[in-house]
Amino acid sequence: MPDCPSRPHKKMKAKITHEPRRVLLIDDEASFTRMVKLNLEATGKYAVRVVNESPQSQQVANEFHPEIILLDVVMPEVDGGDVANQLRQHETTKHIPIIFVSAMVSRRESGSGFYKSGGEHFLAKPVSTELLDESIEQVLAQKV
């Protein structure tokens, strides 16, 4: 997949006011990461970097300096919880907000799909581009 911004969504183009925000997407499902990257970059608001093999997460994060991380929970090798613990222990990455993206939640837990539990942000799969965008904006706004 080409590592260049894809064509922006027409109706979202008007919202672009500054440089794309760097989003690190960690998920073992390549088709999922491709679709998220396509859709988010199409908004023109985000530059998305994908990690499909979770053990590489820390290294990529160190290089990419993401402003926000979308992190899958259930992954082979190192799962989302452990990746999060690792990132938060590291000086260069501990301040970066994380949104957990999980298929393992019931509707009652997830509510609209984006929710907070135990101090963490969660997004329930499947997620729409619109909700992804809103959730990222909300978390980044809190950080600022």
């Binding site: 064509r7 969504h9 027409k10 109706k11 499902e29 088709s31 999922f32 491709r34 679709m35 998220v36 396509l38 859709n39 199409a42 929970v73 259930v74 190192v78 799962d79 989302g80 919880g81 452990d82 999060a84 613990n85 298929a103 393992m104 939640v105 019931s106 509707r107 009652r108 539990s117 135990g118 101090g119 963490e120 799969k125 499947p126 997620v127 729409s128 581009t129 619109e130």
Partner: protein
Amino acid sequence: MAAYPRKLLLLSPDPTEESALREHLSKAEDGKYELRRVETLEALKQLDLVNACHAILLDMRIESNQVLDAIHSIGAVHEGVALLCLCRNHDQLREHKDLIHLVDDYLLAESLVEGELPTRISHAIRRRQKEQELLSEQNLLKQLLENIPDAIYFKDKQSRFIKVSQAMTRTYGFPNPDDILGKTDFDLFTKEHAQLAYDDEQEIIRSGKPIVAKIEKETLPDGGINWVTTTKIPLRDAHGQIIGTMGMSRFVTELKETQDKLEREGRLLKTVVDYALAGIFVKDSKGRYLIVNKRHANYLGAHSVDDVIGKTLYDFFDPVEAKKICTSDANIMKTGKGIEHMVDHRVRPDCQELWLLTSKVPFHDKDGTCIGLVGISQDITSQKEIEFKLKSAIHTLEETQLQLIEAEKLRTVGRLAAGVAHEVKNPLSVVLLGMDYLKQNITDSKELIEVLNDMQQAAEKANDVIFELLDYSSPHEISMLPMDINVLIERVLALMRHNFSEAHVTLHNELTPDLPLISMDAPKMEQVFINLVLNAIAVMPDGGDLTVRSYEQRMQQTGANVSSKMTERFCIGDRILVVEVEDSGKGLTPEDMEKVFDPFYSTKATGEGTGLGLSVTRSIVEMHHGLITLENRKDTPGACARLSFPTTQKNES
């Protein structure tokens, strides 16, 4: 005294002698005499002399060799018949002088004066009879003393034996009665008995008062003991003067031993009955209590044994109950067949319930007639209570097991659903995001947009199905019911027993009984304690101690030892139910304290757990309006999870 007419028999060869004697007898003044003559000794021997005559007159003219024979024969036949010799004169008398002392009298026929014959005959008869009576009495005494098995003794004033029975001689080891004469009790017995007997006898001699049927213990020099019943009376001479004592002692050693044995057996039986660890009773054929011990009296609701004796079951139970038992008792006595180990449920007059294990057998007299029954009852009330509790516990366990099976089933479905959800939701995400992208880029074909919308709706429908599956597998239907939290904890601990033993963890149960009930969803709350206990076991890999404690406390004013979370959740004065689960592990680091309830935070090594346990636990506790805190123990290493619940729910949801 012989009756009249006096029958006389004359042994004489001379018929004239008969008529001569008749002549003499006819003039008798003292009454009538009948005379009969026989000629020979043989003829005389043929007669029944005792009934035939009172006296025999022997004419000495019979052949001389027959005279002695005649005297001996007559004397041998009957000593009660008087025998007189009839000599002619002094010459003939002299001739037979050696024989005269063998007969009662002699008569001189030729010189008989008027009236002499009947007088002499009468005197001879009377003398003979007196002698006979004396001999007879002597014989009676002799027989008595020789044959009676009792000790009979006559003593002088100094208590020396003057005559004793043969039995006494034998008993005290003397060859014949004469050997004992002149001796005293001090020669026969030890001083212990001899002195008592001597004192008794001297008192009888002094007072003249007898001692009757006194039980005495005779102690012999060889250590032997005789038990006797003794009667002693004063011995008087012909003038009524006391000249000593006489007495009779009957040997009753065997009787006394039998009596003692019976008494011992009676005492033994009474001891057994009184102190048996069971109720024992004996009833007569009318159902009246003859014997009952204290324990059985208590079973009947009576205060003492005396309150029961002579009474029947109708005095202690209602008529229906009493009749039922009486009918059963009557049947035992009728058939002779006892009953064993009958479980009896009774309600005592004080309304206390009683379970008895009773056995009864018929009771027969020595002829084999049933005269009542003997029974033994054991109080098995406490065993019965345990049995009921056990049954109830088994029932509860069975129910719990069913619930667990149901829960396990749901967990299996849950795991399946989670797997399915993960595998399906990722592709669905791709599909939906793909359609998002296509919709953004296709603007010129309305038809294509519609197709994409249809596809999106279909994908979302599929997503709904997955959600339903996930929702179904997590049983979140809450059913809040008031419950004793101790019961629930005990159930969990019982189920996890093998986890403790496997991990070498010792359980300390410090649950306070009678805590107020709190409304809870039992399966969810069980999950809470299972999680806490499993966590505690996990932090003690080398074994340790786990304490589960429950108690009630009142919310105190804000202070150093009351956390801010507590003041947020509870008001001062609220009654709070607290449960603590303590382990003896390493305890928590400050970092653990901060994040322990966060999702995915785990102190376990990577891969051992997802770290969802405490987060779920907290959710459930909060669902019950409770609070969970985790802290290190103050005095000893280890952590303590404290759960606080309001005892009255603020708002039921």
